[in-house]
């Protein structure tokens, strides 16, 4: 063991940098509503994201009802179906997953895990949430505007996105969508600056970068990526807004619509696709990296073993983040490109499989001979590994140009990305909520309801998305509200569609159990105590639970070790908290 303690008199030198001055709230409003406390902001973010996510969940039911039982529900017109598809996708990817992982977990966990009292720019952090809320409200407003929300598909490809044939294209729908995204990006940038700078500057003493829990690494890297990638979406949105409102032709080619020559001319829809996917692909990893980080911590804690290959895990996160910027055109194989470009992007896409596989192996090796506790968070973490491998394998299919071309725009693609960036990160979110809820509230979530929720969600998700691969391989296209009597579609597809719909409804209702559990356990949950999982990382070592504004009482913790000291031989317990100086005694200077 390398001993890095300053030896002279065992005295830890006093901090050289003055502490962050916290804003002390004076009223109920500034304590709970316009709060600058990252933990309150985190809960605001999470609450808003989950609320709008429920809207997206209901939209997916409506879509499934139409696909499973076409023609039964007269209010689901083809136009409405397109609107449901679009809003479901956009809300889930951006307003739920991105906001919940970075705004929710980022805000709650970063300051606690690195031993900070708060984010470094608390005021900007508060502003970030309110700007995000505004973005959500603008999005919701589009449901009530004349013409309804946009039905352009979540990728919003021009020219169709702003033409009259697309729902919302020539009314308010697309305008509000673009404006909402622009506002979201501005708000996210405010928050993102906080997450990054807090990791760089806010760490407590002893907390070197390589002692940070992988959760922080995942959120940190994802935020850096998001800060660089979201401007691409911003540029695309602003230019499309100009095309739609001011009549420019950035993206719009010359068009004849209903016999009318439009005033557009010469624009390039491909340009939009490049910009969109330059954001869109990193976005996949913006959602995945925090999930990778969180799941590493869940597995290590609940298997009572140090994470296998910590350094490799960190490097893999960083390498995945960097690589994800040079793979975007694999979403555009069917848009037409020079064969060498296709070759290049297929190669980079497959190379990402290497660091990703390293992570999967390391999770499995962490479990190997571990003391596995099948708690609810652990169940979700294990389910994540399986699901992520499943989705990742179909990604290898789709990353190759020749395989992608026939499969593109079929239900196979839908199954693939739902597995890999829908179900997998959502499973981690559930696991993380079961894991950190005791810290947030001081009470455990109910175990029986949790297990019920897990099994229905896990088995149900496979019941939904496994058959969908088959449906896609048969050639059923995505985004079609009705299949009709196409000759190439066998009867089994119709049966499967009905089956998938029923499974989706059941899984959806299981989420209500989860929501009920969250509210019920606030009052009736078992008392958790400060560290119910006997975990090592700093957030479990706060003097009070739930931690108050400022987190640490009089003195910030001093970190003596990395976050994964589980089952250390000869140690008094099977875990050693990061701020425990074992095997030394607490230096005399700190006991006073």
């Amino acid at each position: 063991m390398v001993d890095a303690t300053p030896r002279a008199d065992d005295i830890i030198p006093p901090a050289e940098v003055p502490e962050l001055e916290l804003y002390h709230p004076k009223s109920w409003w500034t304590t709970y509503v316009f709060s600058q406390d990252a933990k309150v902001i985190a809960i605001q973010y999470a609450g808003t994201a989950i609320a709008i996510g429920l809207v997206a969940l209901v939209l997916s039911w409506l879509m499934r009802l139409q696909l499973g039982f076409p023609g039964t529900f007269s209010f689901i017109t083809p136009e409405a179906y397109y609107q449901f598809v679009t809003m479901h996708g956009m809300i889930m990817v951006i307003y739920l997953l991105t906001a919940l992982f970075l705004g929710g977990f980022g805000n709650y966990l970063i300051p606690l895990m690195v031993g900070a009292r708060d984010m470094v720019f608390p005021y900007v952090n508060m502003l970030s949430y309110w700007v995000y809320l505004l973005a959500v409200l603008v999005l919701v407003a589009s449901f009530f505007a004349s013409g309804g929300p946009t039905g352009a598909g979540w990728t919003l490809y021009p020219p169709q996105a702003i033409l009259s044939g697309t729902p919302g294209g020539q009314s308010w729908g697309i305008i509000l969508m673009l404006v909402s995204l622009i506002i979201f990006i501005i708000g996210f940038t405010m928050g993102g600056l906080n997450y990054v700078v807090t990791v760089i500057q806010g760490r407590t003493r002893g907390m070197t970068l390589m002692r940070m829990p992988l959760t922080v690494w995942g959120i940190f890297t994802a935020t850096v990526m998001a800060l660089l990638a979201f401007p691409a979406l911003f540029v695309a949105c602003v230019m499309m807004l100009f095309d739609r409102v001011l009549g420019t032709s950035f993206f719009m080619p010359a068009l004849v619509e209903m016999g009318q020559q439009l005033s557009y001319g010469g624009g390039s829809p491909i340009l939009f696709q490049h910009l969109f996917w330059f954001f869109g692909h990193p976005e996949v990893y913006i959602v995945a990296l925090p999930a990778f980080g969180i799941v590493s911590d869940l597995i290590s804690t609940h298997a009572r073993k140090n994470i296998f290959g910590y350094r490799m895990m960190v490097w893999a996160i960083v390498v995945i983040g960097a690589l994800s910027f040079i793979v975007w055109a694999h979403h555009m194989y069917v848009s037409g490109m020079h064969p060498w470009f296709g070759f290049f992007f297929a190669t980079t896409t497959l190379i990402i499989a290497i660091p990703t596989a390293i992570k999967v192996y390391n999770w499995v090796l962490t479990l190997w001979r571990g003391d596995i506790h099948l708690t609810v968070p652990m169940l979700f973490a294990l389910a994540f590994i399986v699901t992520f491998v499943n989705g990742g394998l179909t990604g290898l299919f789709l990353g190759n140009v020749v395989v992608d071309v026939p499969l593109s725009d079929t239900m196979f693609v839908v199954a693939h990305f739902h597995m890999v960036m829908g179900v997998a990160p959502i499973l981690v979110i559930f696991g993380a909520i079961y894991h950190w809820y005791p810290k947030m509230t001081g009470r455990m979530l109910d175990e029986r309801m949790g297990r019920f929720h897990f099994w229905v969600t896990f088995v149900g998700a496979y019941a939904i998305f496994f058959p969908m691969h088959y449906v896609g391989l048969v050639g059923v296209p995505r985004r079609y509200p009705e299949l009709g009597d196409s000759a190439f579609i066998p009867a089994s597809v119709h049966d499967l569609n009905a089956f998938i719909t029923i499974a989706a409804l059941i899984v959806g209702f299981a989420q209500m159990v989860f929501l009920f559990n969250i509210f019920w356990s606030l009052r009736h949950g078992k008392e958790a105590g400060p560290n119910p999982w006997r975990a090592t990382s700093l957030e479990w070592q706060t003097p009070t639970t739930p931690p108050p504004h400022g987190n640490w009482g009089d003195e910030r913790p001093v970190v003596y070790r990395w976050a994964y000291d589980y089952s250390v031989p000869d140690a008094p317990q099977d875990f050693i908290p990061q701020n425990d100086p074992w095997p030394q005694k607490v230096p005399a200077a700190r006991q006073a």
Binding site: A15, E16, V120, F234, G266, L271, H274, F278, N306, R311
Partner: protein, 235 residues
């Protein structure tokens, strides 16, 4: 997309260099005890706000690099017709250089503890920036008077869009500059907060000057010639 890729390579290179400074090769499972870690470490005594600004500027750089990428890609289509460059842009450039210079002197003044110079320099920088914005508006008016409207050609569209976004960034910076200026005029002596504020403003202005020079080169069409030249050299 080459412009943004170059930027990504630069940012990634810097990040990897920074990570290597942070002992990412350490083996944390073999060590215990207190490391001197940030914020009190061996390295960065840089104020948090400066690091925050640096990262924000990387985001802004990414934004403009993406606009430039889009500009180059759109340029290759047949309908592209660059508007004539309004002559006043030369004047505006000089003004923005002056604003940047004024802030440079303001930084020197606050460091040397001369509040009177700092006040004048800050006010001059603010006025020059306002003049720059007015000049940009004049350039827009010149273009519209010549019939080069936003929607008549994508080249015009990019002109308004990029100058507009750049102007908005100056406008945002002016809010911070105004706060620093008011502080300089009301406080008797120069304190730490004022010094930091002035330094942040100066960094921001130098950066926006750099961005403006890039945008200017792009809009003037020289960048196209440069790219053509590079292509010829490569093929």
């Amino acid at each position: 997309m080459s412009v943004i890729l170059v930027l990504i390579v630069v940012v990634a290179g810097f990040s990897f260099w920074w990570l290597l400074q942070q002992r990412v090769l350490a083996k944390p499972w073999l060590e215990y005890g207190v490391h001197t870690a940030l914020p009190e470490t061996d390295v960065s005594h840089m104020p948090t706000a400066k690091i925050g600004l640096g990262i924000f500027l990387a985001v802004v750089a990414s934004l403009f690099a993406l606009f430039a990428s889009a500009y180059f890609m759109r340029m290759e289509y047949a309908d592209w017709q660059s508007p004539p460059l309004p002559r006043i842009l030369w004047f505006n450039t000089v003004i923005l250089v002056l604003a940047s210079l004024a802030l440079h002197f303001a930084v020197r003044a606050v460091r040397e503890g001369r509040p009177d110079v700092a006040r004048l320099a800050l006010a001059a920088a603010g006025l020059a920036s306002l003049l720059f914005l007015a000049g940009q508006l004049t350039a827009w008016r010149e273009l519209t008077a010549g019939g080069y409207f936003l929607d008549t050609n994508p080249a015009n569209g990019f002109f308004y869009l990029m100058t507009g976004i750049h102007g908005l960034h100056i406008l945002g910076g002016l809010a911070a500059l105004a706060r620093a200026t008011v502080r300089a005029w009301t406080e008797e002596r120069i304190d730490e907060r004022l010094r930091l504020g002035v330094e942040l403003c100066a960094t921001y202005w130098h950066f926006l000057l750099l961005v403006w020079l890039g945008v200017f080169v792009l809009l003037a069409g020289w960048a196209g010639d440069l790219v053509a030249l590079c292509r010829q050299l490569l093929t």
